[in-house]
Amino acid sequence: MGTISETAGGIEEGLCTSTLGIKCAFNVKFISPYLRMITLHQIQKKYYDSLIISVPKLELPHGIYWMQGGNGAGKTTCLKIIAGLIPFEGDVLVKSTISSKRQPVQYRQMVSYAEAEPLYPAFLTGRDLLQLHTGARGEGYESITELSALLGIPAFIHNPVSSYSSGMLKKLSLLLAFTGRPALILLDEPLITLDTATIPILYDWIRRFHTQHGVSFVITSHQLITAGELQLTATLVIDNKELKKV
């Protein structure tokens, strides 16, 4: 049996016997609901003294969150702040201890981000980008070869990204977000340009990474992502330039 901490969680592993009498091994990551996965502390983002978004204090336990807001509300800016892509006032902590400012490398190891409209240098191939991400993030929870095969990426992985359609580019950027062993994955408009066959695969990944590997998700989408597909922990709303949990 594995160890389980009351506040942080742990790994539960062992043997179970099914109703048919078949013995099988299990390995399930247990994340305590008391663990604060993301803590946003006195966040303020301004452009030329104009406030774009503010988060006085927000603590989010392990879960799947849907961030809502109209066009220009600041959803992408908020995700970029959490991903550590842009400078801001305040601090973001993952698992209550890893700070985006004090431990930038460890923080980035814990947080992955998939852009709404990914843009890469035209001469790079999917393989180049995958190599860069896996090289920097290390071994993942699941085989990246199998994940990419599910999205049909091997068919075009050796071609330069300049030859990709927007859907192919989106699939690649989503795959890149699932590399390494992040504790939090930020998905900015993950459904746009994806074909109907890929959307259930993405939902399955989110569910599986959440339950089996203890990954939390913050997803922005103008499309309804609930509808029985994902069990949301809570909804985040940007109202009057302030991010709140509903």
Partner: protein
């Protein structure tokens, strides 16, 4: 007649416009370095050398073959361009003979410099009774033109067919991956070729001129460092464009778990690779005088260009302000070099670049950041 005019604009006109720098350099080498009075005798001797010496003839044919490949590359590249996909429906629907004539005229248009020069050489060969070289030149040109027309026709009949170049590119993509420090070098080599070529030619010319001026005088490292500083100064616009490239395409790398030390090393490697031709020249010319001077110069080069780049982590630094800073730094380093303080200058430059990098990297945000 109208069709060939349009094709002339699409292929011939664009070919010479895109290769202005190349033809300017070629023109200078063939006509600019020889005094006007000796121009005819110079070219006559060159042609006599080509037709009378087998090795020289092979060298000339080899260079002309490369030029022919360049022409074919350009035409095939244009055919593969989405903007010119209408050519498949227009030229492709012409009768075969007319289509071939048009392609021949297009190829003669771009291949003209070699065709004219080699034809004159063939006439010289016949007049001097070198019949075999004359026949070789004639056959070579006919083969080059027929080969090109065949390739163009083939491409037109098989749109979307994978060319040898694409096969080679796919093989390279499968066999090697591009490391992060080389992204900007690739960008320059693929999308900003003209800027790279002009910078490299000017920079290498400055170094060659420095070594030429030093001939006969006692070796002085300060003179070489001054030449190198000017050479590095010529890279400032390429460095300025580096910020634009990173802002536009490499934003995603900021979310990767890489330490600042690794990121800074990658920056130095980028500029080290960019300066490889200059390093080659420096090693050849300084190694016989002092075994460690070339190391000193490489250290200066991979300190100064990163410093120029790190200045740009101040997002409000536009091109004017940037150039003022670059010139200021250049002047300070020049005076330090002339005053024998070059080791101090290198340490100060490297330290300034590193400090700027570690303090500014995470605080930097592109000036045009879109608010969403």
């Amino acid at each position: 007649m109208a069709v060939i005019n349009i094709l002339g604009k699409i292929f011939t006109g664009r070919f010479y416009a895109q290769n202005t720098g190349f033809f300017f350099l070629l023109f200078y080498l063939l006509f600019g370095i020889v005094p006007g009075g000796q121009l005819i005798s110079y070219h006559y001797s060159l042609m006599m050398g080509i037709v009378s010496t087998t090795n020289f003839l092979l060298l000339a044919i080899g260079l002309w073959l490369l030029y022919n490949l360049k022409c074919m590359w350009f035409v095939l590249g244009t055919l593969g361009n989405k903007e010119y996909s209408f050519l498949y429906q227009t030229i492709g629907s012409m009768p075969a003979r007319r289509m071939q004539t048009n392609w021949l005229l297009v190829h003669i248009g771009v291949y003209a410099p070699v065709l004219i020069y080699s034809s004159i050489a063939a006439v010289v060969a016949v007049r001097k009774a070198y019949y075999a070289p004359a026949v070789i030149l004639l056959c070579f040109n006919v083969i080059m033109c027929v080969w090109a027309v065949w390739i163009y026709n083939r491409q037109l009949k098989r749109p979307g067919a994978i060319t040898l170049y694409h096969r080679l590119q796919q093989w390279l993509n499968r066999s090697f991956y591009k490391p992060l420090p080389l992204y900007y070098v690739y960008e320059l080599a693929t999308n900003r070729t003209r800027a790279l070529l002009v910078t490299k030619v000017l920079s290498c010319l400055v170094l060659v001129a420095t070594f030429t001026l030093m001939e006969g005088d006692p070796y002085d490292i300060r003179a070489v460092l001054t030449g190198l500083l000017i050479s590095l100064l010529l890279h400032c616009i390429v460095v300025f464009e580096h910020r634009h490239f990173e802002d536009q395409f490499l934003g995603f790398t900021r979310s990767l778990p890489l330490s600042l030390w690794k990121r800074y090393s990658a920056l130095c490697i980028t500029y080290g690779c960019l300066l490889l031709p200059e390093f080659g020249l420096l090693i050849i010319h300084t190694l016989p005088h002092s075994p460690w001077h070339w190391l000193l110069m490489i250290a200066l080069a991979i300190s100064l260009l990163p410093l120029f780049r790190c200045l740009l982590y101040f997002p409000r630094l536009d091109q004017d302000k940037y150039l003022r800073w670059v010139l200021g730094i250049f002047c300070v380093l020049l005076f330090m070099t002339l005053g024998y303080l070059y080791i101090g200058a290198i340490i100060a430059t490297q330290a300034a670049a590193f400090i700027l990098f570690i303090t500014r990297y995470y605080r930097y945000e592109p000036h045009y950041e879109q608010v969403q």
